[in-house]
Symmetry: C2
Subunit: 204 residues, 2 copies
């Protein structure tokens, strides 16, 4: 086993990857400066981060885009399809269910759950919304690796407990409240108020 | 002027703030360990981050929740209402327009724009969706401080250019492609594929 990649680097690698995926066929190589400029970082940081993936740049030439893309994808454990359960079929859940970037990234939303009877049975992107009471039973047959919480804040903790019981490995939480899970489960919080507050600092 | 707060600290302060806001009246004080546990960080990091806000903890007691909350809010420049323009009135835009956390945080979505004639005129959370061609003109009268890009990827760059022209100070970009803006404008990218890819690393 290789040593773990630092958290902050893991956060930045997908951002570099996105930039590399946007490079057209006319850009066969990129320098750390190009990556830094496009991703609002520093070239020193980029080089340090990329030292954690198996791809060596050539001084004066840079990195081969294709090679670097594959190396980052490998380091992040991409390339296998991950089963995702989405909980919450409101506006945000609907946006997530139809997000075009997921199939290409190897993430497959397999099921959408809600507890609102008016939403259960509704079809989102080809999936019929199921009642959330079915989640555990569904996960026994075909486990979910990632759970996405797209419910109102008031329901988030209950849903997180359910996802822990369903043995997901990771949770993406859009609910805007902190959820507590065992340490072996990774949680990423996407909180809109937090994003705005970060921007606020730079407006002062 | 005080010296600028490091970027990574600015990113974490709103997360601490969210935790503090969730503390009830029965929690008048918190320790750095409490904050660290709730926000998946380390106590050393929390103390280091909080050294940038004007609030001193008391050894063995911790921080006064109310005082710390106010100190972080002040450091982030919160407490004034920020005018926000939202571009894109699809599912994501609809979710954002109705997000209950914004008024409380001091961010006010003043206008929603779209270029799809079927969406223009539609009412979202009390606001009639306007055609995006009106944005510049609207911004002359009442400038927007923050622009939110909630359009498909293909439209994002054009919208970013428009927001730059409208002189926003910051952009929150949900489109999943990088946008280039002058260095004085702060961009935060909320990219769902990126979030999933970060989680992927921890599933390997």
């Amino acid at each position: 086993m290789t040593s773990p990649i630092p958290k902050a680097t893991v956060r930045r690698l997908p951002i570099y990857l996105r930039f590399l995926e946007e490079c057209g066929p006319n850009t066969p190589t990129v320098g750390s400066e190009d990556i830094a400029r496009a991703t609002h970082g520093s070239a020193v940081q980029v080089r340090k981060d990329l030292s954690h993936v198996r791809c060596s740049g050539v001084r004066g030439v840079g990195y081969e885009v294709d090679e670097l893309r594959q190396a980052i994808a490998k380091a992040l454990g991409l390339g296998v399809t991950r089963r995702v359960a989405l909980i919450g079929a409101g506006n945000l859940g609907t946006a997530l269910a139809g997000y075009p970037g997921f199939p290409a990234s190897g993430f497959r939303i397999c099921s959408v759950y809600d507890k609102n009877p008016r939403r259960v049975g509704m079809v989102l992107n080809g999936m019929a919304v199921r009642h959330v009471s079915r989640l555990l039973q569904d996960a026994v047959g075909e486990p979910y690796e990632i759970g996405v919480i797209a419910t109102p804040a008031a329901a988030a903790r209950e849903v997180a407990d359910l996802l822990v019981e369903a043995r997901v490995g990771a949770i993406l939480n859009f609910a805007g409240v902190t959820v507590q899970v065992p340490p072996e489960i990774t949680v990423r919080n996407v909180d809109l108020a937090t994003e705005f507050r970060i921007l606020s600092y730079y407006l002062t």
